[in-house]
């Protein structure tokens, strides 16, 4: 079998190229998560304040990202920023921007939920000790909140990784886009190549996301006791 379909994966530099594409996707997910989690923590803290205006604005921010599908967010960043604001970043940065804002919105809600579920006496004890608002967040509330929000955060990370599959829509050379090129270039010699290339990408995503989701499930189960 000179042309068994699976060999398409190992022809020339194909496998290395696919891995390179995967790296692009993982890299974008990682940067977006770092920025998004930092921003989301701040937004989440602001949402527990008593200022109604701030809370309303941040709620609207969250709802916007809840309503607009991620594909559309990517297009908004990709089309609107260059035309309207003359921002000509590479597509990769547009994706990082869209993902970061989306993550920050989702994470702000996770942080708010965690902060609000911390017993009131913790806050009151802190205040009684003379801690100011910042110290209260830094030493009393955040350390406890992080533990509570960890499973939801891991789940959010798996979603971000899965969402990197959409990067090809704004012509980023992610693993799927590379896969498409390989399939097209080898269509003559490997008519069944499409099966193996998409199959491999399918498995790659699973290999990354499955351990994470198992970990999140494990943590959730542990917290119940």
């Amino acid at each position: 079998m000179a042309h068994s379909g699976i060999n398409v994966l190992f022809e020339g530099t194909n496998f290395a190229r696919l891995m390179g594409g995967l790296w692009t996707a993982v890299w974008i997910a990682a940067i977006s998560l770092i920025i998004g989690l930092a921003l989301g923590t701040i937004l989440g803290m602001l949402r527990t304040l008593h200022n109604r205006v701030i809370r309303f604005i941040l709620l609207m921010y969250l709802e916007f990202f809840r309503i607009v599908p991620t594909v559309v967010l990517l297009f908004l960043a990709y089309y609107i920023l260059p035309r309207q604001f003359n921002v000509n970043w590479p597509a990769t940065w547009m994706a990082v921007l869209a993902f970061s804002l989306w993550v920050s919105a989702e994470f702000s809600d996770i942080v708010r939920g965690a902060l609000e579920s911390i017993p009131v006496h913790q806050r009151e004890s802190g205040l009684a000790l003379g801690l100011n608002q910042w110290q209260l967040f830094r030493y009393v509330l955040l350390p406890q909140a992080i533990r509570l929000e960890l499973p939801a955060t891991i789940n959010l990370a798996t979603r971000v990784i899965k969402t990197t599959s959409l990067l090809l829509m704004i012509s980023i050379m992610d693993v799927i886009n590379v896969g498409q090129q390989i399939i097209e270039a080898n269509n003559q010699n490997y008519p069944t190549g499409v099966f193996w290339v998409y199959g491999l990408i399918f498995i790659l995503y699973f290999i990354i996301d499955y351990p994470l989701s198992r970990w999140a499930k494990h943590l959730t189960a542990k917290q119940k006791y």
Binding site: V68, I176, Y198, G199, F206
Partner: protein, 219 residues
């Protein structure tokens, strides 16, 4: 923002709007059915089937819908299974959604207290009767929040159908942008269209969640 451009695009967006609604509707109903069957088979530890369902849930939940669709649309024909794009879309959405729904229902069913089951068994109920009269009614109420979140999620996921050229909302917008390059206007209509579908639905589901909670047993 050019309002004439927006106005002229409305008939096409109306088509996409209808298709998004229709595909979401079929996909969600299918996903709920698959989800209920899957989670009941896991709940009652049906031999073999329960294990297969467990694997299915993990596979479907941990891979992106886009690659599932590509697999259905591009790789299946190689194995001699050729389907229209919309069929692939619906199957993909049910495949993905069924697993999410199964997770949600399993969470709800597990929330039904064991003493309820023991009481049922003591009364001589069969597994089917336990499922029908005890686990399902209470578990369904408990899984309402997950169900609501999944419905919203699945409607948003239909935007990914645009990659296999199903002319739903997002695809319509992309087509129009490709033809006339009025990206601001078309993306604006697109966002508004999703808001029109999702905002009333979110309000309704939140209301429903509150209603159903009265029906839960205990706490």
């Amino acid at each position: 923002m050019n309002w004439t451009v927006i106005q002229q695009s409305l008939p096409e967006f109306a088509q996409g709007f209808k298709l998004t609604l229709w595909l979401s509707f079929v996909g969600i109903i299918g996903a709920i059915i698959v989800g209920i069957i899957s989670s009941l088979s896991q709940y009652f530890r049906v031999p073999v089937v329960g294990k297969i369902v467990g694997a299915y849930v993990e596979i479907a939940r941990n891979t992106p819908l886009l690659i599932q669709l590509f697999f259905l649309y591009y790789a299946f024909p190689v194995m001699g299974i050729k389907m229209a794009a919309q069929t692939c879309g619906i199957i993909g959405l049910i495949f993905l959604g069924g697993a999410y729904m199964a997770e949600g229902f399993t969470g709800g069913f597990n929330g039904v207290s064991k003493s309820q089951l023991d009481s049922g068994r003591a009364l001589g109920m069969s597994d089917f009767q336990l499922a029908r009269y005890i686990v399902f009614p209470q578990g369904f109420a408990l899984s309402m929040p997950a169900l609501a979140a999944n419905i919203i999620f699945l409607i948003k996921e239909t935007s990914i159908f645009s990659v296999i050229a199903i002319p739903e909302l997002t695809n319509t917008a992309l087509d129009l942008i490709g033809m006339y390059y009025q990206s601001n206007e078309y993306l604006f209509v697109l966002v508004v269209a999703y808001a029109i579908i999702l905002i009333p639905l979110i309000v309704f589901l939140t209301w429903l969640e509150r209603r159903v909670r009265y029906g839960t047993f205990g706490d």
